[in-house]
Amino acid sequence: MADIQDLSKLEADIVAAIVAANDEATLDAVRVAALGKKGSVSDLMKSLGGMSAEERQTAGPALNGLKDRLTEALAARKSALTEAALEARLAHEKIDVTLPVRESAIEAGRIHPLSQVLDEVISIFADMGFAYEQGPDIESDHYNFTALNFPEAHPAREMHDTFYFEPRADGSRLLLRTHTSPVQVRTMEKGKPPFRFICPGRTYRSDSDQTHTPQFHQIEGLVIDETTHMGHLKWVLEEFLRAFFEVEGVELRMRPSFFPFTEPSMEVDVRCARLGNEIRIGEGDDWLEILGCGMVHPNVLKAAGLDPEKYQGFAFGMGLDRIAMLKYGIPDLRAFFESDLRWLRHYGFSALDVPSLAGGLSS
């Protein structure tokens, strides 16, 4: 059995070798030389068996202590070497973080302003309990005019600049609906009062200039029950416009007007400010005509099979394209249908901009 001095020297030598080891292989060689099966420390451990109980009492703890200290020193050195190796590797691994990546699909895609505004309008009216009804673009004279109380050959029909199809065998002519109002009649015919719905859709008039396009979009609203009156109409319009334009309040001015399918009929102006080309709703000293409305004409109720002595209600209609232009500052109606990628990317919306009353209509 070596004495304590010998053990101290052995320990000092091994520790020096551990410290000197500069890579994992050298360090492992040091470990094997000391603690391996035939290592110097292992050999000494083996000699414990041949010792007297008294000798073992001193040598046992000394050797075990040595083994523990060396194991710890090896582990510490190994961890230091791993760290250093990682640092060295990382020092070489560098990229140009300013390199451009491809635009993602979610960034590139767009929703057309018309679809966006339609979703906004639907979410507002859905909250007020209005269903969403649709009807065909190709209409009969009956639904587009007669059932809406346009007398035959009346100049009011001419105001609509109607697109017609060729006459059919029976002499009747189909046409492209000039307004979304036919959906009122179609919906009332197939259901039972009370009614509360909007009907947005594409409409057509043979008109083309700076502010008119042969196709455009309208949104019509209808409420029919036994008590709804003009005061309710005004409230619905105020609440809708306030929510749609996302302003604190709007002020409306109703002016008498004429539509064959409502009586009384009104045009509605909203208070606004004109700042250069910009129009701001809900402030200022100016008025902007924004929609037409009225109490549904008794003849329309009759045409839809309802008793006008019992049922009453209101209808309103406005241009979807127009309110989109007003809200989002889009200057030219014609551009809506030109499919110019630059325009679509600028005025369009992200797929994830889903309008909701909880999150706000626009982001």
């Binding site: 491809r102 895609g109 409230w235 109490m295």
Partner: protein, 810 residues
């Protein structure tokens, strides 16, 4: 419709200001479209006097004047260079100071030098002030006008012109008198009726009037009145009448014509004056006859049709009733004996004649909206009086053929209807008073219903709702207060149908794929419609009156618009575009023929992962399967079930690089593929373009479920294992058939089969390809033994070989 303020004040006795009148007109439903107030336009122009005028040192035609003018609030003498030939010392005229805007040309004056001589302001001509065409020299005024007097005052140019829009239901307001009646009812003055009393006839008219209508067509002209006035002296009309007419844009012609124009505008009572010497025999109203012709006042000759109502003498057609008179029988300066016509013509027939002939006239405009039939004879008396005043002459007795059509209408009106319909609570006597002011007769017991008789000039009033409108528009709509519409449900219920939700999801899903939404025209050219299955094939979808030949047919597919849009963007330098549209297309003219499609295209290198060159690798040309990926992403978003893909897309797709999505053998959910090169050539758009069309309505509606709870999730703790197989099959074998065969080899154990390699050509040889699949086995109860795995592998191989005729690749 236009009139001047002073004209309005003939029938309306009022102290109201222009602003009050304008506001009230709009609030009555007579929307003011514009007010031209010459006093405002001329506000900075004032009377000035030329004190001295000497020749310009450097220009023969110019004079250097010393002008006495009002500057600010002081009279000053300014130097003004003037080119007018009549510029001379002592002339009193109109001066425009620096800062003024010249109405005729919009020029803003500023101090300047003309050929080296300082000039401040300008002496004006009538034309420069837009007051007449006079431009021979500067205005000369009597020197009784003090320097500084407003030009509008000195020139009498102080009559504002008001333009209002008249809705088609208000023919009574196509005359100034009717407008005045509305304003008076609203409390803005008192209505003056004018002198409508009969003028005594001195002789029997030698020209008679007849109504010659076959039974059933008498409504074309129920009443025709007229009289001869002999010995008139036609000439220019007086200044006031010329002023009214020219202020509203009508050229004064001669007194007789001007009187009829005036009464048309003032009383909405169109009249016609004939030179009696040119009438052969009697006048009659009758329907036209084939072969007849009319040389009308507009200088054009028209064919007469049997549906037209015409005025004729014994030989010729003299005019289209209510539309336009003839040239030959019209009055002129030489006219001595004049025959005045005042009649009532059927609005519908007049409108049809007007539309058929294309003639637009003030008379047609009024007759087709419906004038006051009861005013036929009073209108004639009014005209007689005016003609005698302005042209002298002696009137015959009035001749009347037919009689005033009965317009009597009595409406039982519940005054409570006002509140029920509008929420406005009005006193019973206010409603009554408004109606009476508008000319309605109101009777009825107190507290009960009113019996309201409708005046003959209001053809638009039919029922209680019409009366409510009259009452509230005169009372004012400002009083209508907002009342909350009751909520139906505390928390609003969803409103969108399955299909409406799909339309909305289609747009968001495709935009999320990087496609840009467009909205294209519903109409395309015939040629384009034909390319996509429409055009000649569907004549019912051809517009009779398209806005242009490019927009003549309802689109059979959204592709025409999208491909054209891609072409236009390409021409602007954006060749690689990914566009979509979600909207209506038309298979036939019925409501069911209109279907919703979500259709998209990718052009050039606009592939799903990005377009064009990039340092990480450039995008190649778009491929049919890019469009398939778009369509499948959309179908997954729409909750479509597993669909079959087959190689039978419509003819506008490349025959070998396109497919259909089907549910069962017949239900087509969509198409995808490369657009046929011939289609691109026909549309003059370069490719490649790949496209997809998806028809969300063809996907079956989801089953209604009793609960929102999802199926319980069963997870296995055992690890899945994966085995690879490669098969050599004929090139014509669909990969899908191979995958399905492998999957069905053991439905319980095989949880997934994925194709990870396709290899064609080279060592495979002609007509063969290699397909390599990874099969995932998911044990559910216990770990699989080698034997079990072997059994499944053999089953997979056997199934694939049987289904495809291929062999396992060695």
């Amino acid at each position: 419709m236009k009139f001047t303020l002073s004209w309005l004040k003939q029938p309306l006795d009022t102290e109201a200001t222009l602003d009050e009148i304008v506001t009230q007109l709009t609030m009555l439903g007579l929307e003011v479209e514009g007010v031209e107030d010459p006093a405002k336009v001329l506000a900075s122009f004032r009377v000035a006097k030329i004190l001295e005028a000497v020749p310009h040192p450097d220009a023969d035609k110019l004079r250097v004047c010393k002008v006495e003018a009002l500057v600010g609030d002081k009279i000053e003498v300014l130097q003004v260079v003037c080119g007018a030939p009549n510029a001379r010392a002592g002339l009193t005229g109109i001066f425009a100071p620096s800062g003024a805007t010249i109405p005729a040309n919009g020029m803003v004056l500023k101090p300047t030098k003309i050929r080296g001589v300082e000039s401040n302001g300008m002496m004006c001509s009538m034309r420069e002030l837009e007051l007449s065409e006079e431009h021979d020299g500067i205005i000369e005024l009597p020197d009784t006008f003090a320097v500084g007097t407003l030009a509008s005052e000195a020139l009498g140019a102080n009559d504002p012109v008001i333009e209002i829009a008249i809705t088609p239901n208000r023919p009574d307001c196509l005359g100034v008198y009717g407008v005045a009646r509305d304003l008076a009812a609203a409390g803005l003055g008192r209505l003056r009726e004018g002198n409508l009393s009969p003028v005594e006839g001195k002789f029997q008219s030698p020209i008679g009037i007849k109504l010659e209508f076959a039974s059933g067509t008498e409504s074309a002209c129920p009443i025709f009145a007229g009289r001869l006035i002999r010995g008139v002296k036609n000439g220019p009309s007086p200044e006031w009448l010329q002023h009214y007419l020219s202020a509203v844009g009508l050229r004064p012609i001669n007194a007789l014509v001007d009187i009829t124009n005036f009464l048309s505008l003032d009383r909405a009572r169109p009249l016609h004056v004939y030179d009696a010497s040119k009438i052969k025999g009697d006048l009659r109203a009758r329907l036209g006859r084939k072969g007849e012709k009319l040389a009308a006042l507009d200088g054009k000759t028209y064919d007469v049709a049997p549906e037209y109502c015409v005025i004729a003498d014994d030989e010729n057609v003299l005019g289209f009733a209510g539309v336009m008179g003839g040239e030959a029988s019209g009055s002129s300066l030489e006219t001595v004996d004049v025959f005045v016509e005042s009649a009532y013509f059927d609005p519908v027939r007049t409108a049809k004649t007007g539309r058929a002939t294309g003639i637009i006239s003030d008379a047609r405009y009024r007759f087709e909206r419906g004038i006051d039939p009861a005013f036929t004879v009073p209108g004639l008396e009014l005209a007689t009086r005016m003609i005698m005043q302005l042209c002298g002459g002696e009137p015959s007795q009035v001749i009347v053929a037919g009689e005033v059509p009965d317009t009597t209408k009595v409406i039982h009106f519940d005054p409570m209807r006002v509140e029920k319909l509008t929420g406005l609570s009005l006193a019973r006597n206010e409603s009554e008073s408004i109606l009476k002011h508008l000319g309605f007769g109101v009777t009825g017991k107190s507290g009960g219903l009113f019996d309201v008789s409708v005046p003959s000039w209001r053809p638009d009033i039919d029922g209680q709702a019409d009366l409510v409108e009259e009452i509230v528009r005169v009372h004012g709509l400002a009083g209508v207060k907002s009342v909350a519409l009751p909520r139906i449900h505390a928390v609003a219920k969803p409103v969108l149908s399955v299909q409406q939700k799909r339309e909305r999801i289609s747009r968001r899903a495709l935009a999320a794929r990087g496609l840009v939404e467009t909205v294209n025209w519903s109409f395309v050219s015939e040629a384009q419609a034909s390319l996509f299955g429409g055009g000649n094939a569907t004549p019912a979808l051809k517009l009779a009156n398209p806005i242009s030949t490019d927009m003549s047919h309802m689109r059979p597919s959204l592709l025409a618009g999208l491909i054209a849009a891609a072409g236009r963007n390409g021409a602007r330098g954006f060749a690689d575009v990914a566009l979509f549209e979600a909207g209506q297309q038309f298979g036939d003219e019925t409501p069911e023929g209109q279907t919703f499609a979500a259709t998209g295209i990718r052009r050039g290198t606009a592939r799903p992962l990005g377009a064009g060159r990039h340092w990480q690798g450039k995008a190649g040309a778009v491929e049919a399967l890019d469009a398939k990926a778009d369509a499948l992403a959309l179908l997954a978003s729409l909750g479509a079930p597993q669909l079959q893909v087959s190689n039978d897309a419509p003819h506008w797709y490349h025959p070998g690089r396109s497919g259909s999505f089907k549910l069962g053998p017949t239900k087509t959910i969509g198409y995808f593929g490369e657009i046929h090169p011939r289609i691109l050539a026909a549309m003059d758009v370069t490719g490649p373009i790949v496209a997809f069309e998806v028809f969300p309505a063809n996907i079956p509606d989801p089953k209604k479920k009793a609960t929102r709870a999802k199926f319980p999730l069963v997870l296995s703790d055992l690890q899945p294992l994966r085995r690879d197989f490669a098969f050599v099959v004929d090139s014509t074998v669909a990969s899908d058939a191979l995958i399905r065969a492998a999957k069905n080899a053991d439905k319980k154990l095989i949880s997934d089969v994925s194709l990870f390699d396709v290899f064609e050509g080279g060592a495979m040889g002609e007509g063969k390809k290699s397909l390599a699949i990874e099969v995932t086995l998911q044990p559910s109860e216990k770990t699989l033994t080698d034997e079990e795995i072997d059994t499944v592998s053999k089953a997979v191989i056997a199934a694939v070989v049987k289904a495809t005729g291929g062999t396992l690749r060695g």
